[in-house]
Structures are given as structure tokens and as C-alpha cells.
Amino acid sequence: MPEDTQGALRADLAPVKLARPGRRVAAVAVALVAAGFVYTVFANPNFQWGVVSRYLFNKDILAGVRLTIELTVSAMAIGVSLGLITALMRLSDNPLLSGAAAVYTIAFRGTPALVQLIFWYNLAALFPRITIGIPFFGPEWFSVNANAIITPTVAANLGLGLCEGAYMAEIVRAGIMSVDPGQREAGVALGLTRAQTMWRVILPQALRVIVPPTGNQIIGMLKLSSLASVISVTELLSAAGLIYTRTFETIPLLIVASLWYIALTGVLSLGQRVIERRLGRSVAETGTPGRGWARWRAGSAETAGAADTAGPD
């Protein structure tokens, strides 16, 4: 269609927006469904919001929240440490070390976390006594009854931590491999040891790649820790379960647990966003010295750096 080239054109006005009827219909449909959902949630008496509010800050529920947080923190601590060790082993030149790391990763990433939890919980069936020492030749340092030390909490930490370690190993490995090999060469060429180069040069740079997925893993672990309910650890989900098996208020108590999970993951997501923004800023176009990731680490370089940029080059 030929465009009208006659007469005055009001180019100073904003162009008229294109009508998008399909999008409008979709928006109305979504709004309807959402309104219906909200109405149902509050109108349906079976949700028992009164019960929900009664139990939200119940002493047993709060104890469960606390245990869930503790379990998440300790399992992640185990997971991150194991992951770091495994990743370093995996990158070793020694085939036995890298092989052992690969086997660990395959075994623990390849089996369901639930299976691992139950397995550790029943460790005593496999090894009635647990002996620490050097296999075959060495002295035995100590030996204990497995049932005595593998409590449900220990089993949960072992299960979740070992499982997490396998995932973290891959994350750390990817982070280390993302760092330019020239960085390592520059470090050792200066006479630094391989360990010094790893800790001072490679790992700090690998963190940029490691931290974001680790945030995801923590959020995942928070929810994964609910699996510990099957081996009678009274974390958040079991705490709710213990109440509803007694009162039969199943749905409202599951809502109580869910609200807590959402609140906790919300806090974690927020923290993750803050950290990622700081990580991202050091590579941003406008990045100036002493900003971003480095400022987050060093803090003190900030003012000097900012002053430096402000001046003319």
C-alpha cells in the first residue's frame, strides 16, 4: 500500500502504538484464572486458614524450621568442601586421584538422594562396627558401634552432604576450567607454587562462575532436606507431619510448611541476587577500579580507585 506523502506529518507526536488483540485476550484469561484461584483459596473452608495461622509460629514448627536451616547449612558445608576437594582431585594429573573423584561423582550423582539417605540410615546393617585406621596393614585408631554414631541427624548430614558434594564438584570444576590457562602459567612462571597459584589466582576468578549455581544449590538443598523426614529427623516437614497425623489437619499444616519454605527460599534468592549483582558489576562496561567483585573482596581499594578514574587520563 503506498504511503501517504501528502500534507503535514505530525512527527513530533509519539507514534500510535500497534494494537495487539491476542495479547489482550491472553491477559484477560490469565487474570480470570488468577482471580478464580485466589477466590477458591480463600472461599474454600477446607484450606482452614485459621488453623494455618494458629500453627505458623507453633513451637514445634519453629523447631523444625531451625533444624531445616541447620541441616541445610551443615549439608552444604560438607558438600562445598567435598566438592572443592573432588574438583581438585578430578583435575589432578594422577589417574588414580582423578579416577577416584570421577567414580565418586558418578556414584553419588547417579543415585537418588532419598536412596542415599536411607542407605546411610541403615549403615549399621552393612557395617555393625565402624573402624577408623589404615586398611589391611595399619593400626586401628578407634572402633565404634555403628548404631551409636549413625544417628538420624548424622545420616541426614552424610546423605545430603555427600550427594551435594558430587554436584558441587562439577560446579567447582567448571569454575576452575573457566579461568584462562594463561593465569596459571603466569603464576607458576613467577615462581609461585601450584597451590599458591590455585588459591590466590585461579579460585578467586573461578568464584564468578561457581557462586551463582551454588546459590541455586543452597535453595535446592533447603527443599531437599525435607527428605530427611523419612529417616525420622524432625525438620520442618516432619514437624508439620507429626502434628497433622495427630490432628488430621493435613492440608493446613502442609501450607504452614510451604509458607516457611517459600519464606526461606525468598531470603536466599534475595541474597543470591545481591551477590550476583556484585559479581556482575566487575565485568560491566562501566566497571571502574575498585568496584564490583574486587571491592566486595577487598573493600579498601575502593576510594583510591574511584579517585583515580575521576581524574583525566
Binding site: 584462562d180 594463561g182 593465569q183 602459567e185 603466569a186 603464576g187 607458576v188 612462571a189 613467577l190 615462581g191 609461585l192 607454587t193 601450584r194 599458591q196 590466590r200 589466582v201 578467586p204 576468578q205 566487575s282 565485568v283 566497571g287 571502574t288 577500579p289 575498585g290 567483585w293 574486587a294 573482596r297 581499594a301 583510591a304 580507585g305 583515580d308
Partner: protein
């Protein structure tokens, strides 16, 4: 005079490709040797063998009379442990084509890291020395910058200062200007020229024939893993004897 760098019978292969086929090279203290040659001729590998970034398959390197990466026990060479290797490398400065500044550190930290960790210098001492070196390469004002905020030429000058901070007895330059924009090459060559004038022993792998002609005491032409020709720059660059050298130089002009 004993050579500062002694390369003896160096062989290196990567898989089925023999990159170095028996290289011998002596560099006297204070001498500047420029290594030229087509890409793939083994120049960089030779340089990387000198500080043992590549482990030679046969032959050895001695710097300042000490084996690099090896230890002599009776009539055999034994692999050196990490401490010995680090000590040897600490006295060999290396400058890379891609600068390889530590991206997670400021310019100042880049220069002070190795003296603090490997030479156990105190922070104040290391920083004083670093600032003097940064002044030497004209970058004292940028000490708090991060590498990605510097131009290529500035990064390479910081890299040179970083290597000098270890007070090396020799400096290796691996195509130090090849990754630079043409207008930034000069500032890096100026620093290298100053170093050469001040008596630093240098092995410079380069494509800058002009620099070689002006600064080198000896030019080594490598081709397909062997030293094809060597001699004073006037001879090798102006009236090369080997046909391969003539061909290579002809293609450059």
C-alpha cells in the same frame, strides 16, 4: 665467561609432532638474543622450555649455572621437586603474548603478589619496589586499576614490571607485542629497549625485525624445530646465508 642461559640438546614433541629437534643455545650475561622464524617453528616452545613451562623430552636448560626443572645426581638428571623448580623459575622472568595479568587483582597487587609469596617480602617493602617498577614502565598512576581497564600496551608494561619485581637474572619475551594494536607496540618495545640497555639478559621471540636489528646481540633463526641460522643481526638479517632465512625474511618485507 660462563653463559647465563645454557640450552643443551633440547628435544620436545607434542604427540607425533617433534617441535624441537635438538636445540643448543648459549646466552652470555647481559646479552640479548632475538629468536625469529615462521610460526610453528618451535620458537615459543623453546622459550617455554627455558622456564620449564614445557618439560623437555631430552636435553636440559641451565640458568645462572643451575638446572631448571632438574637436579643432577651423579650422571643422571632427576626431576626437581616443586620447591626447587619454583626457586629456579623465580629468577626467570617471563612476558606472555596475551599479558596474562591476574584479572582478580589491581595492577599493584599483580606486581607485589609473587615477591610477597615467593620471596617473602613484607607488604610495605614489596609495594615500594612495585611502585618504583611501575614508575619505570610509566604506569605508577594506574596502580589501583584492574587489568581489564588498561590498554593492551599498558597491560604488557605491567606484565613486564610484574616479572621484574622478582629481580630475575634473565627475561623471556614470548611475542610480547604480537597481540597489541600497531600504535601500542612502540611503548612496549621502548621498555624492552631500556631493559636491554641496562644489561638484562634477554631471550626475545619476536616478529619485530626492526627491534631485532637494533637491539639484538645475536639473532637466531628457527625453522621446523632446528636453529637454521644464527649470528649478529647485521649478518642474519641483511645477508642471510641459509636459503630458508632468505625466504622467511623475503616474505616479511
Amino acid at each position: 665467561m660462563d653463559p647465563m642461559i645454557e640450552v643443551h640438546g633440547l628435544h620436545k614433541r607434542f604427540g607425533s609432532v617433534e617441535v624441537l629437534k635438538g636445540i643448543d643455545l648459549d646466552v652470555a650475561p647481559g646479552q640479548v638474543v632475538c629468536v625469529i622464524g615462521p610460526s610453528g617453528s618451535g620458537k615459543s616452545t623453546l622459550l617455554r622450555c627455558i622456564n620449564h613451562l614445557e618439560r623437555p623430552d631430552a636435553g636440559y636448560v641451565r640458568v645462572g649455572g643451575r638446572f631448571v626443572g632438574y637436579r643432577r645426581v651423579h650422571d643422571r638428571l632427576h626431576e626437581a621437586n616443586e620447591r626447587e623448580l619454583c626457586k629456579a623459575r623465580a629468577s626467570i622472568g617471563m612476558v606472555f603474548q596475551r599479558f596474562n595479568l591476574f584479572q582478580n587483582m589491581t595492577v599493584l597487587d599483580n606486581v607485589t603478589l609473587a615477591p610477597r609469596l615467593a620471596r617473602k617480602l613484607g607488604v610495605a617493602h614489596a609495594e615500594r619496589k612495585a611502585l618504583a617498577l611501575l614508575g619505570l614502565v610509566g604506569l605508577a598512576g594506574k596502580k589501583d586499576r584492574y587489568p581489564n581497564r588498561l590498554s593492551g600496551g599498558e597491560q604488557q608494561r605491567v606484565a613486564i614490571a610484574r616479572a621484574l619485581a622478582m629481580e630475575p637474572s634473565v627475561m623471556l619475551f614470548d611475542e610480547a607485542t604480537s597481540a597489541l594494536d600497531p600504535e601500542l607496540v612502540g611503548e612496549v618495545l621502548d621498555v624492552m629497549r631500556t631493559l636491554a640497555r641496562d644489561g638484562m639478559t634477554m631471550v626475545v621471540v619476536t616478529h619485530e625485525i626492526g627491534f631485532a636489528r637494533e637491539v639484538a646481540d645475536e639473532v637466531v633463526f628457527m625453522d621446523r624445530g632446528v636453529v637454521a641460522e644464527r649470528g649478529p643481526p647485521a649478518q642474519v638479517l641483511q645477508s642471510p646465508r641459509a636459503a630458508r632465512t632468505r625466504e622467511f625474511l623475503g616474505r616479511l618485507l
